[in-house]
Symmetry: C3
Subunit: 268 residues, 3 copies
């Protein structure tokens, strides 16, 4: 897609040159995988969630990723402290509301973050998105969901409701900022056979948003980077162990021109 | 072993069809590996340990795995809350009392869970099993133990004492529900060269117990699935890094007929 | 280097024979990787950070590794409790002050541990080392730093100031105990493309210090073991995913004679 080449090249190059510091307040299940994904694309990850150091760390970071994966009340305090600091400095904040359909406390926390206007990019699966909109959550349980037939409707509604860039992931990914609407069709079902594919995509969004003010392009770069790496990784793949290894290898070769050329999808 | 084929096929198929949601309250060392193992066999993992959301999450899950690996008092509260909810709903609960020989607090927590009658399957190494029985703990330190000469005695005593299915892992694995007693002899010493082999076996037991009411068969399926995958993974293996990758690949190909055919062991 | 062969052989053999129990109070990002590294070299890892069990677990361990990677105040208490117990027993304590340049609380905690005289080996990158000395922290952000032109000056100053063995890692590693000063020049930039290379080196130092009273030799063994494994892993390596797998494979083959022969560096 011709309109993506220029921004994708700019993002890939800037990450490689600036090594943006991506502060994560995230879950302990996929933290290591996310840190590896950040390093693979040449960003600089930092995971920290002690409330007492949120001001300092959020203050020096180039992006903040808030992931509710193993939510606890200590992290809840840190989400608010860090997001407030980041927002005040103009630092982009990505929210990944993992499992928000499974816990009232996660839902309240995500909604409070979203309505306080500090979130730059909201990224979730269709069950998470629908839950945040107060819609029927659809066929999802735990932290996973089935793909929605119309993710673009969910993304557009999230973007309008919460005044941010919204990404709804699934077999087809939808990205919207309320004005512009894209579908992304790269990827492979293999991504759901390893843990943390969604979390790593959030990491990539944080890195991209750190170097690109346009949330739509940052989000599209991140999903395309993850999904085309997955396409490469699944070739003759003997199983999910090997898939994870190859995915990390493939992520490290990101290149804006190639990503734009491999992008399958469209602007709506 | 002919009597295993039917239940093993039923378990493998049911996990693939139902994708049981396995709620883990577990350690941050192996959480990612356990989530990957769950996804490899096509179960759906969820790690969550905030006390405030235990009612909701345990209430929607198909199995609960309580693992004491990086025990803390916040998790202690969650163990009791989640196990109580799970038990009330008839949801199976697996207890992996990691390192119970190394800490009085772990021992008290494990004993309290066991004596309250909420545990379906108790799975540990011989030092852990002996400690729970008040026996000499044998040659183990930290979270590891050497294999016991008579794991079947420990398993039988645990099953009788705590009225549950008991599994004692080692070079030879023993499974007992107090009435039926099995030995499993699959596996490779390589499993002790990666972290989380025991924890992942607990995950597999949770998934199997979610779809099979017979704790003995669920436990045998899980140890056979893990151990035969390990046998496959160790062929010409250059080291533990590669072993972990191949183990995950092999887990994803589980098939009840093959598992039953490869099972080495006997009913006592 | 001829003077290293004897101590390196002794360390490699002792780890393989004694399987020293290395207690980690560490971050949830790299805990799994560190546990795998410990098992790869045939040490026995245990991660535990609940204050209430620190006395017991530190009391039975052969080494303690304190890593500030995902610092929180609960861990702060555990650092002091465990280090005090370890020190009283003569158990070596490794401090890895991850990200100490990024948080006042980490700095205070590290300084308090260092000035209380309980640390055997202090290991950090140049930014961390400079920060602990009250020097300008140099070009580092988050948890990463660029290599310093003169790491040996930082290491010597740390060793003198804090009366311990000090290691400053980077493209060139420096080790000092205030009397003896070494440079190590093994390794590859690839190590900075995966998360936890530094943390795993701390794990290796803990295992080596458990079996070798000479902090300098323990530290040199650990950096040489990690860095020569990395040199082996990077050959024709397609990316960081594969690099991590091969690194673990290579670590498992450690051998004192080979490590000493491959050592590049010098005594100053």
């Amino acid at each position: 897609m011709i309109e993506l080449e220029k921004p994708f090249c700019a993002i890939s190059q800037a990450i490689r040159q600036q090594h943006p510091l991506v502060h994560h307040i995230t879950n302990y299940v996929t933290a290591g995988f996310c840190a590896d994904a950040a390093l693979a694309i040449e960003a600089s990850p930092m995971m920290a969630d002690e409330p007492a150091e949120m001001g300092e760390i959020a203050g020096m970071s180039d992006a903040l990723v808030c992931n509710l994966g193993t939510f606890n009340v200590r992290q809840q305090e840190s989400f608010f402290l860090a997001a407030k600091t980041a927002h005040a400095k103009g630092t982009p904040v990505v929210l990944d509301p993992v499992g928000v359909m499974s816990s009232q406390l996660r839902l309240e926390t995500a909604q409070q973050l979203l309505t306080s206007g500090v979130i730059t990019i909201l990224k979730g699966n269709s069950s998470e998105g629908r839950t945040l909109l107060g819609w029927d959550k659809g066929p999802g349980k735990g932290v996973d969901s089935l793909s929605d037939a119309h993710p673009e409707k969910i993304a557009a509604a999230l973007a309008e409701t919460f005044h941010c860039t919204a990404v709804v992931t699934g077999a087809v990914d939808a990205v919207s900022d309320g004005r512009r609407h894209y579908l992304g069709m790269n990827g492979t079902p293999y991504l759901s056979r390893i843990t943390g594919a969604g979390c790593m995509t959030g990491t990539l969004m944080g890195a991209a948003a750190a170097v690109c003010q346009d949330g739509i392009m940052a989000a599209l770069w991140a999903i395309t980077c993850m999904n085309t790496a997955a396409e490469e990784a699944e070739k003759d793949c003997p199983g999910p162990g090997t898939f994870r290894v190859r995915l990390m290898d493939a992520l490290s070769h990101h290149d804006g021109t190639t990503l734009a050329a491999r992008f399958k999808g469209k602007r709506l």
